[in-house]
Subunit: 366 residues, 4 copies
Amino acid sequence: MASNTFGKLFAVTTFGESHGPAIGCVIDGCPPGLAIAAEDFAHDLARRATGKTRHTSARHEADEVEILSGVYEGLTTGTPIALLIRNTDARSKDYAKIAEQFRPGHADYTYWHKYGIRDPRGGGRSSARETTMRVAAGVIAKKWLAEKCDVRVQGWLSQLGEITPGGHDLTAVEDNPFFWPHAAQVPELEAYMDALRKSGDSVGARVGVVADGLPPGWGEPIYGKLDGELASALMSINAVKGVEIGDGFASVAQKGSEHRDHIAARGFESNHAGGVLGGISSGQPLRCSVAFKPTSSLRLPVDSLDIHGDPVEVVTTGRHDPCVGIRAIPICEAMVALVLIDQALRHRAQCGDVGDVAPRVPGRKP
Amino acid sequence: MASNTFGKLFAVTTFGESHGPAIGCVIDGCPPGLAIAAEDFAHDLARRATGKTRHTSARHEADEVEILSGVYEGLTTGTPIALLIRNTDARSKDYAKIAEQFRPGHADYTYWHKYGIRDPRGGGRSSARETTMRVAAGVIAKKWLAEKCDVRVQGWLSQLGEITPGGHDLTAVEDNPFFWPHAAQVPELEAYMDALRKSGDSVGARVGVVADGLPPGWGEPIYGKLDGELASALMSINAVKGVEIGDGFASVAQKGSEHRDHIAARGFESNHAGGVLGGISSGQPLRCSVAFKPTSSLRLPVDSLDIHGDPVEVVTTGRHDPCVGIRAIPICEAMVALVLIDQALRHRAQCGDVGDVAPRVPGRKP
Amino acid sequence: MASNTFGKLFAVTTFGESHGPAIGCVIDGCPPGLAIAAEDFAHDLARRATGKTRHTSARHEADEVEILSGVYEGLTTGTPIALLIRNTDARSKDYAKIAEQFRPGHADYTYWHKYGIRDPRGGGRSSARETTMRVAAGVIAKKWLAEKCDVRVQGWLSQLGEITPGGHDLTAVEDNPFFWPHAAQVPELEAYMDALRKSGDSVGARVGVVADGLPPGWGEPIYGKLDGELASALMSINAVKGVEIGDGFASVAQKGSEHRDHIAARGFESNHAGGVLGGISSGQPLRCSVAFKPTSSLRLPVDSLDIHGDPVEVVTTGRHDPCVGIRAIPICEAMVALVLIDQALRHRAQCGDVGDVAPRVPGRKP
Amino acid sequence: MASNTFGKLFAVTTFGESHGPAIGCVIDGCPPGLAIAAEDFAHDLARRATGKTRHTSARHEADEVEILSGVYEGLTTGTPIALLIRNTDARSKDYAKIAEQFRPGHADYTYWHKYGIRDPRGGGRSSARETTMRVAAGVIAKKWLAEKCDVRVQGWLSQLGEITPGGHDLTAVEDNPFFWPHAAQVPELEAYMDALRKSGDSVGARVGVVADGLPPGWGEPIYGKLDGELASALMSINAVKGVEIGDGFASVAQKGSEHRDHIAARGFESNHAGGVLGGISSGQPLRCSVAFKPTSSLRLPVDSLDIHGDPVEVVTTGRHDPCVGIRAIPICEAMVALVLIDQALRHRAQCGDVGDVAPRVPGRKP
């Protein structure tokens, strides 16, 4: 129920503000016996981290994870796993000015109106700093999915502003700072980003995610559909404005004879559906696409109001990402993994013995 | 928690199969004192109903709503409101053949693998027949939103296959069977649909929804964001493959200086965000766009398998919609309304006295 | 979340008022493949029904269950199971008077203040009529527990006013209208009840419930403990004022050396704990005890107020039970069964592979 | 849904093991604008703390609360409040022996069978150390209830073994280490406890809790009843074996004419109901009673098994409380407060405008 908790059975509760003392999460419902160590988090947190290249924000956080509970002698015990990361690069500058201004495109205005109070330091709770803990929780989800179900989740940047990939080689993704699936374009992307940064502006992006290895059967109709929960999970990421499953919006102009995936003896012959039918996984790869808006924190001035209703000109001088979509790849992967582990456990709960019951009626699933 | 329940405080649980004896829902958490009568449901159910024009399925259901509980002397009492609709046009044909075949593009295959058993009659639970109850529940949500908060939700067809509207006149929407916002194109749409029906094929569609009158402050970060819940709500509708908020996927190619909505003394100067910032309503109109795939039930034969793994050729001879997106307009509206009433109640729970607390800190919201 | 829903994975939503057109429930999350027929409900509903002996209310309801969904060819499909019972003996007397009076000991006063409106006919939603659907849902839970887990739930009357059983023979319970575990006392009970009915008064009762066959491991610490959920489930039954697990309040005066159950090679040597340790089943029989207050509907007049604040004398002339605890036995059993099936599914979700993981660490559970 | 989370709208998630690095909690859904400082927790944590008198365990924890999030400039912001307490007196003794033994009366056996692994250090997650965070969260709940609703919660020891209070003076409770409502008996209690400690045994206790100032209307029928949630909340406390509301088990032997509380012009004339009717608060004081079993950690040896199934003799040499019920008073208060704030917010959500609607029907609540 709580709005800072994600998942029903593998439930992740995050907390913390961008410039508060710490961020963290509590993961409740993790199956026991999974090996987890502090080092496990380093890889994905580094993929999400700022300060690694000139193309991301200059904020540099160590992102050292402390495991506070739920792990004994290296194994999960089934009790809540609390993870803590201290904020170390939260600059102690004066927030007096920003505290009274609404930055256009940010949540300042809406938090103010909702709560009547807001933590203005670096965006407070509305900062993408929160997504660090999604990635951390996602590490555990990914590990369980890989070890128990042989399911792998991979994301990549599928569009940067108006640039689209000239090829689709997922093995290239981790070898460049843009998570781009076509190595030959990397110099072009670097030049594009350099010009963008110089201009003081930002740009949107599109992220693709695929999950391989899913068995058929994950997902709960009607309001707990696999695609419905993916949509919510991905839309909840900062700056996301759209989510597609399978062919997504391209389906609008398709004919039914074109979209429906034929089933041959060896399996499905195409994957327009993106691996989901009726809200349940079909056993095909799960395919999602996510639209990120350009960040609104710019050096370029913009008209706005302050909390007294007076006009102000807002200029963001702090550190920011010219394209937030790039670092969002591990976040998208994490959210997909969190949906999948939760659905896997829910499926086991209701249908864990489907194999057993099946033979009781002739003609049913063997 | 339950997967056939939508909403946390205004919780709608639906039940029923396409060709079972009845469909229905239970609405728990409705505020007391709202006037509700059986007649209130007629208008929106008729908008969703088949059998009204030649462009939709020929199935004709009376869709008469019986209020079983929760209403006393015409007013809601705060106890669960149960609504029941008997299925009257469920044809008693032989389902033996379809029961053993997986129709491509349908949920047959996935239900079978998940549950080891499925009700094959008209798609059973996976049929869009279920959405009737969403519309019914949405009627109550819309009424409360209108009466208590002056919030209105309206949907329209914003694309039919490759045809896009030549104008955007929402007053025209209810005057044509396509919910089309440009009356002059209606003959073109009729011809298109006639040709489509003749071909035996189907086509996708795009639906737009706007909600006007929202106050700023509805929506709960982080995992209960207004846009996140809209995404889930809309993606859970049968045949939906994509959801956008505000500019959606167009944001990918936008610059930050273009996307962020300036705030002038008289309010926001544009609405690229679509009425949501940081997961909380901004007070601007809420704008969503939804992609519907073409229906997979076609007269055109398609390769598939039966439950024994043997190849079959599937032909759908039953009644179906050549474009399911058209009748989806009231369904989309209903889902948006269900999200909004739930968020409105949640906002009242946590922040119902924000006006009271605010003066306690200088410089805070007056 | 919804307050008329019980259970997290096996989620039962009930609806309906005492004198409305119908009562019903929706059971979401039932495992597929369980054989369920309308006749299955008859036995337990008859045990709960009024009008069978002179010791219970004269209201006679047929309690015929219609299965509206979720069952196909006699088997559950995994989709929501909706059950409907039409009210047939709701007398059409004038409620004008009772509608304006608060009956002491009833929920009239509190519903009025909470909702500002209430359905006064037979107590509306606050009537024990609602418990009919708990019993119906419990039938499905009991069946699954018996077939899949060999778990049986049995209740009995363990105290009637000041009379306590002279013996504890559970095989006698179903052979007398008092669910009494000592047949020799039945004439005494009949005389007691006759005198009570003649006096126009009512009396409280205590109900015992035992569940046999539980494996160790069901129950989720900390806030989803097995005993915590049993307490909530049983306390939610109309007229319940107390719940005990194991030795319950007798534990207060016990010494630790007396209360803790020794474990010998053949298992536990006593069961003061009542089958739960740390909120998790120990594999011993689960033992609960429940206190029912005397019904407040009496022929004897009592001072009260009407809704205008004026003093009135309330006399209940309608049908009522002199001891509501008697008919509560199947209700208590149903609530225990609902807790157990839900915990069983939750345990399977998180720990369904504990057997598999265990060998990975030396010295861990084999 | 998550089992380590308590509450639906004011949701408290706790984490941590007895001898792990830290314990903590995340409070989600707290209304904004409430003043909270680290010092606020000291008083109640000290009431719960061990090591203050010779009558409790010798473990001495500083219990210093660090507020990690959700509070800005001393006020709650509406975002999650994370509280952290480092464990400082977790002794680094060898747990090898205890890790292989099941201590009778403890959760060792059940955790082992559920999870296949357990943290044996000081009972791990099943230790009452966890209740520290309930008390901390309860401090915030109590503060809000007092400031916003003028509701106060107070607990006391109402029985110690076989000793019952000779008077009921709640003003005396905080002036003695036993929370005893009759000062004259304190020497008797001290002598009793000294003898008990000397004997190496332990004893049970009964705790009373009253909440004053509740308005009528809090509580959600049917499965979210105020008394049902209190029962669950209190039963979830370590060592609790029974819960009563109002007259509780005494109701069993009462007559209806005796139990039902008359309503006079000036209000209710008695409070057998304990402040709840139909699951909703009546405006009378809320009265609960809780049974605590004697702790099972004793110097006296007891037969048990080890994890290999071999018989062992268990002797607890560590620190423990001879009567855990004494320190449970602030824990019981906290759990009652957590139930109340959650119900208060839920009531505001659904019925926040009942005053407005009421006049629409003649004869309804003014």
